[in-house]
């Protein structure tokens, strides 16, 4: 006992053994670099370079398109080939800046940085915004916006989401072990914005070595603490994480700040450290390459914009031709249409599987067993909601709290009838949310 958690959830095979012991290797790309203008929630970035321009590593190539947006920087030096329609990892063709990599990695000269205690709140927030930091766990919400709640004094918890509850992914795990100092520094920067907050590193207890290392690192940090979470999916879902750590529960119409919390994941905090302590923009991240079709699974420090094909090659290529590719984790990631897509700010992993479990398990009739109800962290009834969704009964869907779904996919995972519950609920949710906004 003593482990923090929430009600519901599932225990899938975590698959982390394939890559967890592989230290992060830097990957220098050879091919063209592709930068989608929309790698975040909010307005797409506006290109500030044109075809033929020579750019340096760390040079801005697209500026934020508004307050809820983020700029994009070149991660290599080279020549802009133009603005093209390319596939993003989720399988949609989107507007991208394409840069021919000259392989020199000539970097811009960054402005010198001031020590943290000499910077004002606005200066720090501005640096985070200028560096293009967004939530790198997968949501891609601009971090500056997240760090600007209406009443900063009322924030009493900054939670570092170190759960990494998605199976197979070990990027955050390696970061915690190899970049502990940077992670703690990122937390220190965020804490400097919130005078009344305590910084909590919330780690699942299957990462005992991280807990130990972090405990050691925060020993002299009076405002920081490490908390062990029960290993369970979706322990890293924002609402469930906040509840596990603080016992405060928020619903779909509330923000974490309403519960006095701000949650940032490991990669994001390290990005904040790089932006504020080193003055460098976001140009790289750690990505896990794993799955049973990959020859040598591992973790790589990848320049944003690198083609996924180069990432697979770096992991020794495919053992056999995979049947399914996933960008992100197996629970919430996207099935990829093609390998020919760039790593973006929110790409935490690429997984290649020899067999697709979804297509080999056809849907059958619901037998009302209640396993989805048991597993649902939002405590709603997935099987009924999926029925309403299929009948397009929006009224009942909303009345039965369909909007509370966090789309974690636990229901589809446990369903013995193999029903695509999350897919049906997710689709209806999009429509219902859009209609709600219209009102």
């Amino acid at each position: 006992m003593g482990l923090l958690t929430f009600k519901g959830g599932i225990h899938p095979d975590d698959g982390k053994r394939f890559s967890k012991d592989q230290p992060v290797k830097p990957l220098l790309p050879k091919g063209d670099m592709v930068y989608p203008l929309s790698q975040h929630i909010g307005a797409p970035a506006n290109p500030v370079v044109k075809k033929g321009d020579h750019v340096l590593k760390g040079q801005m190539i697209a500026d934020a398109g508004g307050f809820v947006s983020a700029p994009i920087y070149s991660s290599v030096s080279g020549t802009v080939k133009g603005l093209e329609q390319r596939f993003n990892p989720a399988g949609t063709k989107v507007e991208c800046i394409v840069i021919e990599n000259d392989g020199e990695y000539n970097e811009v000269e960054y402005d010198p940085v001031k020590p943290l205690d000499e910077m004002s709140r606005e200066e720090i927030l501005d640096m985070i915004a200028r560096a293009g930091i967004v939530g790198m766990g997968g949501a891609g919400f601009p971090t500056r916006v997240k760090l600007s709640p209406k009443e900063p004094d009322k924030i009493d918890y900054i939670i570092a989401n170190c759960a990494e509850c998605e199976p197979y992914i070990t990027a955050d795990y390696r970061r915690m072990l190899e970049n502990t100092e940077e992670l703690v520094s990122g937390m220190r920067i965020v804490l400097s914005l919130f005078p009344n907050a305590k910084g909590i590193f919330a780690v699942e207890d299957n990462k005992k070595d991280c807990i130990e290392k972090l405990n050691h690192a925060v020993a002299d940090e009076p405002r920081m603490d490490v908390k062990a979470l029960m290993t369970k999916y979706p322990q890293g879902a924002e609402r469930q994480l906040i509840y596990a750590v603080t016992k405060r529960a928020i619903n779909s119409s509330m923000l974490p700040a309403d519960a006095g919390c701000i949650v940032d994941n490991v990669e994001t905090l390290i990005g904040i450290h790089t932006a504020v302590a080193a003055g460098k923009p976001l140009t790289e991240r750690v990505v896990t390459v794993s799955g049973d079709a990959v020859e040598a699974p591992g973790n790589f420090r990848v320049l944003l914009g690198t083609n996924h094909r180069e990432l697979i090659e770096a992991a020794g290529g495919f053992k056999t031709e995979p049947e399914k590719l996933i960008s992100g984790g197996p629970m919430m990631g996207f099935a990829m249409v093609t390998l020919d897509a760039p790593v973006t700010k929110t790409s935490s992993s690429i997984l290649a599987f020899m067999e697709d479990e979804v297509s080999k398990n056809p849907e059958t009739a619901c037998i009302n067993c209640g396993r989805c109800v048991e597993a649902c962290p939002s405590r709603i009834i997935p099987s009924r909601l999926a029925d309403y969704a299929r009948r397009h009964d929006e009224e009942s869907f909303v009345a039965m709290n369909g909007l509370e779904c966090v789309e974690c996919g636990s229901c589809s995972y446990v369903c013995p009838a193999k029903r695509q519950l999350k897919q049906a609920i997710g689709a209806m949710r999009k429509i219902a949310l859009a209609n709600k906004r219209k009102k």
């Binding site: 929430f6 009600k7 599932i10 899938p12 399988g91 199976p167 609402r239 509840y243 529960a249 928020i250 619903n251 779909s252 509330m254 031709e321 995979p322 049947e323 399914k324 590719l325 996933i326 197996p330 629970m331 919430m332 990631g333 099935a335 990829m336 249409v337 093609t338 599987f353 697709d356 479990e357 979804v358 297509s359 398990n361 059958t364 009739a365 619901c366 037998i367 009302n368 067993c369 209640g370 109800v373 962290p377 939002s378 405590r379 709603i380 009834i381 009924r384 039965m400 509370e404 996919g409 589809s412 995972y413 446990v414 369903c415 013995p416 009838a417 695509q420 999350k422 897919q423 997710g426």
Partner: protein, 310 residues
């Protein structure tokens, strides 16, 4: 380069548990009771009735789906469960064609006409048993053991006679094919619990509320012998562990399941103590099935962040 990747919405992994596996586990769990019943009533050739009823249920499903041009679902084992459960609820001497009729009624009328697996609002096996009970009351209440015809222990209990609870536990008594041996039923029930097929919620709330009811109204107070006789008699154990726990016809939430179990316990007690016949489990469960939509209406869970997180 061949890039024919499969594309689907997340999640991309699935638990190993499948509906058909669950049904198969229920069939396996019914085997101790079925095998004991067939041996216990070997002089009555009970095995013929069990075989004919089970096969008829599967055939009825196959033929109906074939005729209606629907996908054939007999390999999900749900028809086997229905057929076998019905057979275990029949007296060993019942003419075989009545078993066939019951199986066809269960599958075609109760299950398929309402939309097939997952759509029936009553347990098909129990509905068929009640259908047969009303149609062929004489044959359905004719009980024999070791060639001697007579009343079931439960009926004797109701008449105020003494019963042998040890025989009731072992199953050396008159009754339907599968209901007599509490030990055989419990072996199967424990198997279902251990395999995670059923939860203890419904049987526990059912049996506990039933005990409370007969303690209060049975006229024997806390007499352990009387309570044990009631628990081991009739179809209570088979019903509580194998039919009240039917996923399709029970509530989906834990709270709903507790209320459902209590309703079953009270109804069973009411029918047994104050009804015309000694037995009441079948009708109690069927009426309980009909109460499920109401129970679900009042047990709608509170979502996370609105009180449901605790």
């Amino acid at each position: 380069m061949n890039e024919n990747y499969k594309v689907s919405a997340s999640p991309h992994i699935r638990d190993r548990v499948k509906s058909s596996n669950l049904m198969l586990l229920v069939v396996i769990a019914l085997l101790p009771a079925a095998i004991f019943g067939m041996w216990n009533f070997r002089h009555e050739n009970a095995w013929i009735l069990v075989a004919v009823t089970t096969v008829s249920a599967v055939l009825a499903e196959y033929i109906y789906e074939k005729l209606m041009h629907k996908p054939i679902t007999v390999n999900d084992f749900s028809a086997v469960v229905t057929g076998l459960l019905l057979a275990l609820n029949l007296p060993p001497t019942l003419p075989w064609w009545m078993g066939v009729l019951g199986a066809v009624f269960a599958i075609v009328v109760v299950k398929q006409l309402f939309g097939g697996l997952g759509q029936n609002f009553m347990n098909p096996a129990l509905a068929a048993r009640c259908f047969l009970l009303i149609s062929f009351t004489g044959d359905m209440t004719y009980f024999v053991y070791d060639g001697v015809t007579g009343a079931t222990p439960l009926a004797e209990l109701k008449a105020g006679e003494a019963v042998n609870t040890m025989d009731m536990l072992l199953g050396n008594i008159r009754g339907t094919i599968g209901e007599t041996s509490v030990i055989a039923i419990m072996i199967g029930a424990m198997f279902l619990l251990l395999m995670g097929v059923i939860e203890i919620t419904i049987p526990a709330s059912y049996l506990l509320s039933f005990i409370v009811f007969i303690v209060l109204f049975g006229g024997h107070g806390l007499d352990a012998q009387y309570i044990t006789a009631h628990l081991c008699g009739g179809g209570l154990m088979l019903g509580a562990w194998f039919m009240a726990t039917d996923y399709v016809t029970s509530p989906i939430t834990t709270k709903g399941r507790i209320i459902y179990g209590i309703c079953l316990g009270l109804l069973t007690g009411l029918f047994r103590l104050f009804g015309g016949s000694a037995e009441g489990v079948s009708y109690a469960i069927i009426i309980g099935n009909l109460l499920v939509p109401l129970i679900e209406k009042v047990t709608l869970p509170k979502p996370f962040g609105k009180g449901g997180e605790k």
